[in-house]
């Protein structure tokens, strides 16, 4: 009798120390019945992908407020693909300018949730779009 749970890695790549948003989202996903692995601040793309492999997650959620998303989000998505984890859903949040969103989507970040997004919306998106 298989009973699976959606596992989500919530990580903060880069150098900014603002993790309040990430923690609120992590809690909302927890309350939606998901298993959330929170890795903390100052993660490199390599660290995030390594943790994603070991934890065998279905989703990687990235939060970044420093402006380096075009580099760091894209690095994570690329590295996941390189390691054969293209079935992992990658989503992002934080301070992301509107015009960057289409570019991020092209690079494999499936959805971007900016300030003001309801947690329910994120939960719904993840539940409906998990790839495995």
């Amino acid at each position: 009798m298989a009973d699976r749970k959606i596992r989500v890695l919530v990580a903060k790549p880069g150098l900014d120390g603002h993790d309040r948003g990430a923690k609120i989202v992590a809690r909302a996903l927890r309350d939606a019945g998901m298993e959330v692995i929170y890795t903390g601040l100052h993660q490199t793309a390599d660290m995030i992908v390594e943790a994603a492999i070991q934890e065998d997650v279905d989703v990687v959620g990235l939060s970044l407020l420093s402006g380096a998303h075009m580099t760091l989000f894209v690095d994570v998505a690329k590295l996941l693909k390189e390691k054969g984890m293209s079935d992992v859903l990658v989503v992002g949040g934080g301070i992301i300018p509107e015009e960057d969103v289409p570019k991020l989507k092209k690079e494999g970040i499936s959805a971007v949730f900016g300030p003001g997004t309801h947690c329910d919306e994120i939960v719904k998106y993840i539940s409906e779009n998990v790839k495995r």
Partner: protein, 313 residues
């Protein structure tokens, strides 16, 4: 499926991670793999670390693991945090304290939710210990949830159990109570830079004096400040000394036997529960019985006998 087992035995991280997920989800594929894996286990030293929440278990594990790595040993870590009884979700945060280990391919960390188990562990932990053992890790460290007084299941699985206490959590009566304070092979007084550490150490030592009087081995009491890497090398020496001791006295064989007993009981419990509650034929029957119990036509004991008589033939 032989393929997955082979890759796990070769130490492929993705396959190890996948098999752990399958085992956690009670997937039949995992059952087959676990059957093949058992004969490859037994060489890892399994260390259990338990203690109240916030006592510094994760940080201690991070420090210990770095020392093991300096000695060339590979380490598997199972970090358990509680699953919500309300939502079924969990926030697994032990990795935050283990950042130093993040890029070391000699270390495999897996975070797990308790998924309904009491006792400080999770039902699949036996499988995960076997998987990490079989894939070649020299040491497997199991971190329990932050415990209260009575979560003592860790001794069923660990060769060496560490109980972590911190200063300021109560007087000597607390150390005399039954439960967690009875299960240590080594006591660790962490956060030893805090006020009141002398008193805590003295109370634990006096507990040890009482419990170990006349015994061959006296349980060591060690002070550490994990965050500043203080006292960790001494702790590692004591852990290794305990391993040597249980090997010499053959106590390890008894303990392993106890682990397999606990594992066997857990597998039977799980499969029996699935059989009773998930098979479609039983489900209808149970609904019917519940109706009768609710309307007082039947009592719960008689109802249970009706179900059990179908299994116990």
């Amino acid at each position: 499926m032989k393929d997955l087992t082979e890759k796990v035995l070769k130490g492929d991280p993705r396959s190890i991670a996948r098999l752990i997920t399958l085992a956690e989800n009670n997937d039949p594929v995992a059952t087959d793999a676990m059957k093949d894996i058992h004969s490859h286990t037994g060489s890892a030293h399994v260390i259990g670390i338990t203690g109240v929440m916030g006592s510094g278990k994760s940080t201690l594990i991070s420090e210990l693991t770095q020392l093991y790595r300096k000695q060339g040993k590979t380490v598997g870590i199972i970090a358990i945090d509680p699953t919500s009884p309300f939502s079924g979700g969990a926030l697994l945060g032990d990795r935050v304290r283990m950042q130093q280990l993040a890029m070391d391919d000699g270390v495999f960390i897996r975070s797990m939710g308790t998924r309904g188990m009491l006792g400080g562990l999770t039902s699949a932990v036996y499988d995960v210990v076997e998987i990490l053992d079989a894939c070649g890790k020299d040491v497997v460290i199991v971190e329990t949830v932050g415990v209260g007084q009575a979560e003592v299941d860790i001794i069923k699985i660990a060769d060496t159990t560490l109980v972590v206490v911190v200063p300021g959590l109560g007087d000597s009566i607390q150390t005399l109570k039954a439960g967690v304070m009875e299960i240590a092979d080594i006591y660790v007084v962490n956060k030893a830079d805090r006020q009141g550490v002398e008193q805590t150490v003295a109370e634990v030592e006096s507990l040890v004096d009482i419990t170990c009087s006349g015994k061959e081995r006296k349980i060591p009491v060690l002070s550490t400040v994990a965050k500043q890497s203080k006292g960790i090398d001494k702790l590692l020496k004591e852990i290794n000394a305990h391993k040597t001791y249980i090997e010499k006295t053959k106590q390890i064989e008894k303990q392993r036997r106890m682990r397999y007993e606990a594992e066997l009981v857990e597998i039977i419990r799980k499969r029996l529960m699935n059989f009773i509650f998930d098979e479609s034929t039983f489900k209808e029957k149970i609904e019917d019985l519940l109706d009768k119990i609710s309307s007082k036509k039947l009592d719960p004991y008689t109802a249970s006998e009706e179900i059990l008589s179908k299994i116990l033939k």
